[in-house]
């Protein structure tokens, strides 16, 4: 494999292609697809679609990029499907910790499905001023777009890895995946191999105050565990990690509905307790011995 890396979405994005498929044109096309998602869905960028939604979508219908619209559709479907366990409305949490542009007013958390109205043809309006953070799904979606760009360019296989949200296709074959120790990011264990499928992990290795936002309490919290999801697309894998983190009791059923499997790692005494919804290896997920 020949690999290239660029920095997008706040992380190192690595694209690896088999030697026979590797060309600078293909790398450039895949990185361009990721850069596009970065620009449209970065809430900190005032020109992004997310900032435009916060500024104006409660006053008038606005037209967003087709990719932003697709992510909103997926987010909305997941929010409904999980009764709010996935919810990209972060206005309420953002007020207290300054990590997103200040919203004009704080809606009740978990109201995403009723706040955002998708009118079709890339038209969006909201029923109240809200701040959205698609960080829980956009990184995975960007990986999917890069994979699509590689396929469009005629590549026979490859791996796209955006800071641990990854997807492999075609001649890349079985790709071994290591998952970090939930309490010590310097360690990792080889849990499984994947083939023609996506993987995403959520945890709070690198933030003392926690990265997971619980839509039903509106608070950020430390999680102390990590959740890894294997799913057909990386957007789905990314988003489902939040569903498992927020509602593991009901997650198994949700995961099964989406053809996904989850692994949860929790520090336990001086060891790690690992649980999974995957009963046996499949054609896309091979458990490590």
């Amino acid at each position: 494999m020949i690999a290239r890396a660029e920095i997008w979405l706040g992380t190192l994005v690595e694209i690896a292609l088999p030697e026979a498929d590797a060309s600078e044109t293909r790398f450039a096309a895949a990185f361009a697809a990721i850069a596009h998602i970065h620009r449209k869905m970065n809430a900190h960028d005032l020109a992004s679609d997310l900032a435009r939604i916060t500024r104006a979508a409660h006053m008038r219908t606005i037209v967003v990029d087709a990719q932003t619209y697709a992510v909103l559709e997926l987010a909305l479907a997941l929010a409904r499907d999980t009764d709010g366990a996935f919810d990209p409305t972060v206005a309420k949490a953002a007020i207290s910790d300054d990590s997103a542009p200040p919203p004009i007013a704080a809606p009740a958390a978990g109201e995403f499905a009723s706040l955002v109205i998708l009118e079709g043809d890339n038209h969006v309006r909201t029923t109240a001023p809200i701040a959205l953070d698609l960080g829980g799904i956009a990184k995975g979606y960007a990986v999917d777009r890069a994979i699509a760009a590689l396929i469009d360019s005629g590549a026979g296989g490859g791996v796209v890895n955006a800071g641990g949200d990854l997807r492999a296709f075609g001649s890349a074959g079985w790709v071994p995946v290591r998952v970090r120790h939930p309490a010590n990011a310097a360690l990792a264990a080889h849990l499984f191999d994947v083939c023609n499928v996506a993987v995403a992990t959520s945890a709070d290795y690198f933030r003392a105050d926690g990265v997971l936002h619980d839509p039903r309490t509106g608070s950020r919290r430390t999680f102390g565990a990590s959740v890894t999801v294997v799913a057909p697309t990386c957007a789905l894998a990314d988003a489902l990690t939040k569903v498992v983190a927020n509602d593991s009791a009901r997650a198994a059923e949700t995961l099964a509905r989406h053809g996904a499997h989850a692994f949860r790692l929790e520090p336990c005494d001086d060891s790690v307790r690992a649980t999974t919804t995957c009963a046996a290896s499949t054609s896309q997920l091979r458990l490590a011995a």
Partner: protein, 177 residues
């Protein structure tokens, strides 16, 4: 145990240092990509005085920042721009990167040259280290490309952004020569 979940056998959980290193581009390949028309890359030796260093530090102080390597990209007698090779060193990662700037001070491209994930953090943390000694840590410390994909690597690349700001300040300081 919640419905639908089962315990993964402990034997499957062989945690080892996440040592990993990849070189994406050589300095020479990144130079050619940034300045395809260049006929020569002339190394410049940096001789920054105390005042210049203070001004740079005021712009950004990325961890592990040292003096970057600097080249002038030339097309015969004409200067096309400057090429910087630099690195940021985080708690457990090393990112080598290159910044190409045109003759008017605008960024042409930013390339990641190299990424290394060290096990320095684990080695410094004796308590954690003791916990895993004897299990896996002893025999798996060598850097390998065999298992490249580490899920959950949500490293912040903010340090590279700081590094770029510092290089742009340096570029302005060196002037249009």
């Amino acid at each position: 145990m919640e419905a639908g979940w089962r315990i993964v056998p402990l034997a499957a959980l062989a945690f080892a240092p996440a040592a990993y290193a990849t070189e994406y581009l050589t300095v020479e390949a990144a130079q050619r990509a940034a300045f395809p028309d260049a006929t020569a890359f002339v190394p410049i030796s940096l001789a920054l005085d105390a005042d210049q260093r203070t001004r740079l530090a005021a712009v950004a102080q990325p961890p592990g920042a040292r003096d970057p390597r600097v080249w002038r990209a030339m097309a015969r007698e004409r200067q096309l721009g400057a090429f910087y090779a630099d690195a940021v060193i985080g708690k457990q990662e090393y990112i080598g990167y290159a910044l190409a700037v045109d003759a008017t001070g605008h960024v042409i491209r930013l390339d990641v040259l190299e990424y290394r994930e060290t096990h320095g953090w684990e080695i410094r943390n004796e308590r954690w280290r003791a916990q895993f000694v004897g299990k896996t840590a002893t025999d798996a410390v060598e850097v390998s490309r065999d298992i490249a994909n580490i899920s959950g690597a949500t490293l912040s690349c903010r340090h590279v952004t700081d590094g770029v700001r510092r290089l742009l300040a340096l570029d302005a300081m060196l002037g249009r020569r």
